[in-house]
């Protein structure tokens, strides 16, 4: 049994005060840890030559799970970007779904093996397909939100991008449009301070992307992306505002990029070792684990149980996806246009 006597009133109050149950935070931890384990396995598979390419969400999981937990995951929309692995898991995609995408198998629910890995989509789960040029999806999110408002569906749309994507015109255009119409959209920026190799100081002349929201007529908030509960709190307020017709919110989560940009990148060429080490010390998974230990929800036994379960899930997904059939070459010309 977890030793509840060691809980302090202050730390215990945090998730309870936010209205989250013990079960909620444990499931959130599970999602974070599963995302991490899948991501790590993907790198192993790439290094072993079993898949050609990996792009990673390591370090971003806390922000994604925190904000997604604040949404109605069945009703609301997610327009992701290529680091949104944990958000897609939180939204309902399975480990198998994600591995099928990595292996580009026919059964891959995102694109049937047509897109590079990490271009997630799932119509039933309301996850919209995205492309590789960054920032373009912000406009799709505002269109979805506009339709939700016009059709009075009560849906909220969450979309996310890295801080590099905020340099794009589409990003600004989307913020402008959403502000004008007070759309039910939650804009996330997962600021890990690097757009591949280009540091934040060469992307923008401000410290916080969030300040830009004021220029579009809605609030921008900065949160510690390593603090899952802080992200949940920011997400909860943003979703509340959106649902109440008060309009968009920009949440800038300061996150860590724990890996190179992708499996094709060597970050030691441009990133000081100390920076990478500092990032590791702020790993959201470690921070959240520590919190759960402090409040007495996670002890060694439960930790081992959770991680054994995750290990089994990742093993199953890997084996399943690796064995799954490739797309049939005869299908290469399918789905250019509607086929009935």
């Amino acid at each position: 049994m977890v030793d509840r006597d060691r809980q302090t009133a202050t730390v215990q109050a945090r998730h309870v005060t936010l209205g989250l149950s013990d079960d909620d935070v444990l499931r959130m931890y599970h999602t974070l840890a599963l995302a991490r384990a899948l991501d790590e396995r993907m790198w192993v598979l790439q290094r072993a030559g079993l898949v050609p390419f990996v792009i990673s969400g390591q370090g971003h999981e806390g922000a994604q799970v925190g904000v997604m937990w604040a949404t109605d995951r069945a009703r609301d929309w997610l327009v992701p970007f290529y680091r949104s692995l944990a958000a897609c898991l939180a939204k309902g995609m399975s480990a198998r779904d994600l591995m099928l995408g990595l292996f580009a198998r026919a059964e891959d629910p995102s694109s049937g093996g047509r897109q590079m890995p990490a271009h997630w989509a799932h119509p039933r789960l309301k996850i919209l397909s995205t492309s590789s040029p960054v920032g373009t999806q912000y406009l799709h999110a505002v269109g979805i939100a506009y339709a939700a408002k016009l059709r009075k569906t009560g849906e909220v749309c969450v979309t996310s991008v890295g801080e590099g994507g905020t340099s794009q015109g589409d990003w600004h255009e989307a913020m402008n449009f959403a502000g004008i119409h007070k759309l039910p959209v939650v804009f996330m920026v997962e600021n890990n301070r690097y757009a591949i190799s280009v540091p934040q100081r060469l992307q923008m002349a401000v410290d916080d992307v969030a300040v830009r929201a004021a220029g579009y007529g809605f609030p921008g908030v900065v949160v510690d992306g390593s603090d899952v509960l802080a992200c949940y709190e920011a997400g909860r307020e943003a979703v509340r505002r959106a649902r109440a017709g008060e309009g968009p919110t920009l949440i800038e989560a300061k996150v860590e990029r724990l890996t190179a940009h992708s499996s094709e990148d060597r970050q030691e060429k441009y990133r000081p070792t100390a920076d990478v080490e500092a990032a590791r010390s702020r790993d959201p998974l470690v921070v959240f684990k520590h919190y759960l230990e402090q409040v007495g929800l996670l002890d060694e036994r439960r930790y081992t149980e959770i991680h054994a379960q995750i290990r089994a899930e990742v093993d199953d997904a890997t084996a399943y996806a690796e064995r799954a059939p490739w797309p049939d070459p005869a299908t290469v010309t399918r789905h250019v246009y509607y086929e009935g």
Binding site: P109, G112, R114, L128, L139, A147, D170, N176, R334, H335
Partner: protein, 329 residues
């Protein structure tokens, strides 16, 4: 049957579709109380309200990008680009996003949007470099996108209704010169002209002349003139540029054995290049002469001054000259 201008036929198609299906929305710069710079949405704002007739910020990528999201969430957006020349800021949203949505999601997500864009030049249009361009070749190149360029009011209405009901993104190009210059009978009832088929506007035996938009009318005028010289020109209105009606093109060439393509875009890699290549590849045995093209000059776009604009355009004289040369080849 009432006789309408091309512009009125377009307006009527949108109006009827908005009445028929509340999912249809119109968005673009100036489409609201002003009713569009050409009047295509005149009266819509008052009738359907500002939520369905949406004046957007002056940002083309927004217009198309937001339309994509609206379509993903159950609306049928008609996005107006005020002049086709301004479409390029939205190119990424059209090419990389709208046109690929279905393919990249393995058929799971479609993108039922219509992008309307007035295009084309000539002396009467007075549009200069940035209000006269023909943009069809850029976009007809893109699988996943349909490109329509009607030339007469009846088909303009029917094709626009087809485009609105089409589950794929359609770029609907409206030649500005034709808005008020061309009239024709347009039924008041609901009808659809399918996207795809070309139309033989004038049967003939000497040679086949392929055209669309404003050039269709120039081609018909030249064909009438040539009849007096004993040259019997078949005029085919391509009307849908993608998917292209290859069958009708080849059938015409196999009948006349000669092909001339007329288009007002730049000649080099313009739409006629693809038509010529298809004919050369598929109907080589039927040809009794070179596949010829009359097109806009290879300068950036239509210049403003009248004499320069006239020099740019594929005039009736230039077309007639090509017809005579090909007929006597």
């Amino acid at each position: 049957m009432p006789e309408l201008r091309l512009l009125d036929a377009i307006r009527q198609a949108m109006y009827e579709e908005m009445k028929r299906d509340e999912r249809v929305v119109v968005l673009g710069e100036d489409v609201g109380p002003k009713g569009g710079v050409f009047g295509a949405t005149d009266g819509f704002w008052a009738e359907f309200g500002e939520a369905r007739v949406l004046d957007t910020p002056l940002a083309e990528s927004t217009i198309v990008g937001a339309a994509i999201g609206m379509a993903a969430n159950g609306l049928i957006p008609i996005a107006e680009i005020q002049f086709s020349d301004f479409i390029f800021p939205a190119t990424n949203q059209i090419v990389s996003e709208a046109a690929r949505m279905r393919y990249r999601s393995n058929g799971a997500f479609g993108c039922p949007i219509v992008i309307r864009a007035p295009y084309g030049g000539g002396v009467e249009v007075h549009g200069g470099l940035y209000h006269s361009q023909s943009i069809e070749a850029f976009f007809a190149h893109v699988p996943g996108l349909k490109v329509v360029a009607p030339s007469v009011p009846y088909d303009a209405k029917g094709l626009l209704k087809a485009a609105i009901r089409d589950p794929d993104p359609v770029l609907y190009l409206e030649h500005k010169r034709l808005y008020r210059a061309v009239r024709g009978e347009v039924p008041e009832d609901d009808y659809v002209v399918p996207i795809g088929p070309a139309v033989v506007r004038r049967p003939g035996t000497t040679l086949s002349l392929f055209a669309y938009g404003q050039m269709l009318h120039e081609a018909l005028a030249v064909a009438a003139e040539m009849a007096g010289e004993g040259i019997d020109v078949e005029v085919v209105d391509l009307q849908t540029l993608r998917p292209l009606d290859v069958e009708t093109i080849l059938a015409s060439v196999r009948k006349t054995n000669k092909a001339l393509i007329v288009y007002e875009d730049n000649r080099f890699l313009g739409f006629g290049a693809e038509v010529a290549a298809i004919i050369a590849e598929e109907a080589f045995d039927a040809l009794d002469g070179p596949v010829m093209r009359v097109a806009g000059l290879d300068v950036p776009a239509v210049p403003y001054a009248d004499p320069l604009a006239a020099a740019f355009m594929p005039s009736r004289a230039k077309i007639a000259d090509a017809v005579r040369r090909l007929a006597t080849y």
